[in-house]
Amino acid sequence: MSMEFQDGDVIDGVHYHQYDVVIVGAGGAGMRAAIEAAPKARTAVITKLYPTRSHTGAAQGGMAAALANVEEDSWEWHTFDTVKGGDYLVDQDAAEILAKEAIDAVLDLENMGLPFNRTPEGRIDQRRFGGHTRDHGKAPVRRACYAADRTGHMILQTLFQNCVKLGVEFYNEYYALDLVMTKVKGVDRPSAVVAYELATGEIHVFQAKSIVFATGGFGKIYKTTSNAHTLTGDGVGIVWRKGLPLEDMEFFQFHPTGLAGLGILLTEGARGEGAILRNASGERFMERYAPTIKDLAPRDIVSRCMVQEVAEGRGAGPHKDYVLLDCTHLGAEVLETKLPDITEFARTYLGVDPVYEPVPVMPTAHYAMGGIPTNVKAEVLRDNDTIVPGLYAAGECACVSVHGSNRLGTNSLLDINVFGKRAGNNAVEYAESASFVPLPDDPAKGVRELVERLRTSDGSERIGALRKELQDEMDRNAQVFRTDESLARVTETIHSLRERYQNIGIQDRGRRFNTDLLEAIELGFLLDLAEVVVFSARNRKESRGGHMRDDYPDRDDATYMKHTMAYLTGDPHSADAADHITLDWKPVVVTNYQPMERKY
């Protein structure tokens, strides 16, 4: 059985649309995909936010590419740095593509109009960034192409401008809630995306030949995070609920320099320009931990060192609970011209002027290395090898894996451009030869039931309270340092929160712009994903990249140099996560670089 409709039909109150390519998400990856797809195939972009609100715009420091505009560099060095930075959990074929295609990705953006900072010769200027080195670790290299400290903002604006130029069709403030799968010859095939129109409360079914997920991350599982309120992992959660796997979810990046207590990002570009981390006594402590590249060590290492300094009593401030980012020697001109936004953030939110005083900082949950597994064509995988035809993912929601267990700074703005472009092109190519997968009967059923149940929910639990408990607990027990004991505690908390979530009540009963309902749905995704993160983390009894186990402090290549693959295999509400999550392994692709001890 399948249902018939014409594009634009409204049947039983549900709107039906038909496109060759549907892209979910309008951040960097989604819009980069749209720029490829829209001129060649009928394309729609469904986005929870107006495109320019996407969190790509909050990225600051730069986008890596071995242009060698200011000093010798090569994409091979970039590949090596990416592999080593990811603590050898990077798929090396993918890292090579990332580093090679970086050069054209930057030039594409410049050609589209991106106003990069310039060298005296008028070329794109480049700055230093953590973990990016000359000749396999000899010294920091200037590889990050940048536009002041608003590189992400300029990328987001430039991509949006080019979408306007191409007349890309956006469905703004449409919240994708389901991926419809139709059983064809015994195999589940993606046939449509179902979205909830925030302005009206109406439901839309978008049938498509190709579907691209570019929905970003889920930093809001943590309290202290650089992520936007809207980064609740909806896309990753949708895919999970469909029984498709998630890869390497235990690896979450904590960016070293969040404004203390607030988590607002201060770019690593500050250290790229020469800023120094100091403890309470003013010591440049990174010299002790990473003698060669010091403050420009990769983020996982710097974050761990900061937490260790505080734990050992060398923290600054009245409670000795943060360290200091010292920019005072950079001078007002460098701060005002190359780092104006972060200078203002420190002034506005902490009342600290970086020109004259060091800024209190501590690690902030920043980036999910894990996500929806894809191959280098951005095709989504249903297991270690088999693709889901017509389904693509790119950007933070995806796991290619180019970042392994720890992403290097400036590699995510690169990732969204390289793999966003690949997703767009491959989605078009597939749509050109494929036909529509028929819709099942009543494809909107799941979303309609979810929305109605929550909109009329009148239980005693409050969304804000449950979310806060989750975030507090994740910060306490699943942050930079983890142990089996701490993870066991979070597991219990998440289980109890998931039960209490069944008894929530919302207050807004309306259909139009019901953000109370929206937050209730988002919390459901956060709880699902936090459980996968913690369950995967407990299973990895080693320390690697962003996953640091106090009880297993060493990297164990013999047992664990492989990706985690998590599957939803049972009733998601069962008490014990082990009853519904099954873990498996996926080999790492190694080409040129054998694992070595990671020293900087």
Binding site: Y50, G464, G510, T515
Partner: protein, 254 residues
Amino acid sequence: MADNPSVEAGLSAFTVTLIIRRFDPETMDEPVWKDYDVELYPTDRVLDALHKIKWEQDGSLTFRRSCAHGICGSDAMRINGRNRLACKTLIKDLDITQPIYVEAIKGLPLEKDLVVDMEPFFASYREIQPFLIADAKPKDGKERIQSVAQREIFDDTTKCILCAACTSSCPVFWTDGQYFGPAAIVNAHRFIFDSRDEAAKVRLDILNDKEGVWRCRTTFNCTEACPRGIQVTQAIAEVKNAILAGKPAIPAGV
């Protein structure tokens, strides 16, 4: 560190009254002002206050927000009669002996509480052709050359986050819905003064229209409202001068 810089500094919370202009299109004909008492620290943002109300008192309070640190442009609203971003306005910077009045930005259709229909705003933006127009590609297949000085003259207008704080603070925009408004002109400026762009003339013609730059009466509301510190009125003046001169004044190349 404590959650809050105020706690760190030993400051205590106090009760603040927010008076918010509420409107539910499904149940009300006209907006009404409703007050809420909230416990806040001096370093809390107005956005924190709105969240406390939504999460602890009234889940139906509706507003847009995302990044919460002034870069995504979602939460422009009128706070004590001035357009600001709720996430960049700290309680300590307001007069807290008085209630804080919060309402939606003006001049765009009100949808619900603090949410307006942004489409007319983006329609004006799209009209000025906000994208680089340049047929000539660099011969070496690399980037276009642009000098540091050429890059500098449009630096300010690249900061725009399209929050609409400027446009919806403009008295001309309030009374004349056809006027492009400051944000569209700022984004036109960003390309008119970009040495790589080849369509300055087209944009200057668009803005020379009766609903273009000449409607600006230099009230400086837009400049005061801009949360990114863009010198909006100056940018508009530079566009006016470029129209009169027939072309923008751009420094010579490298």
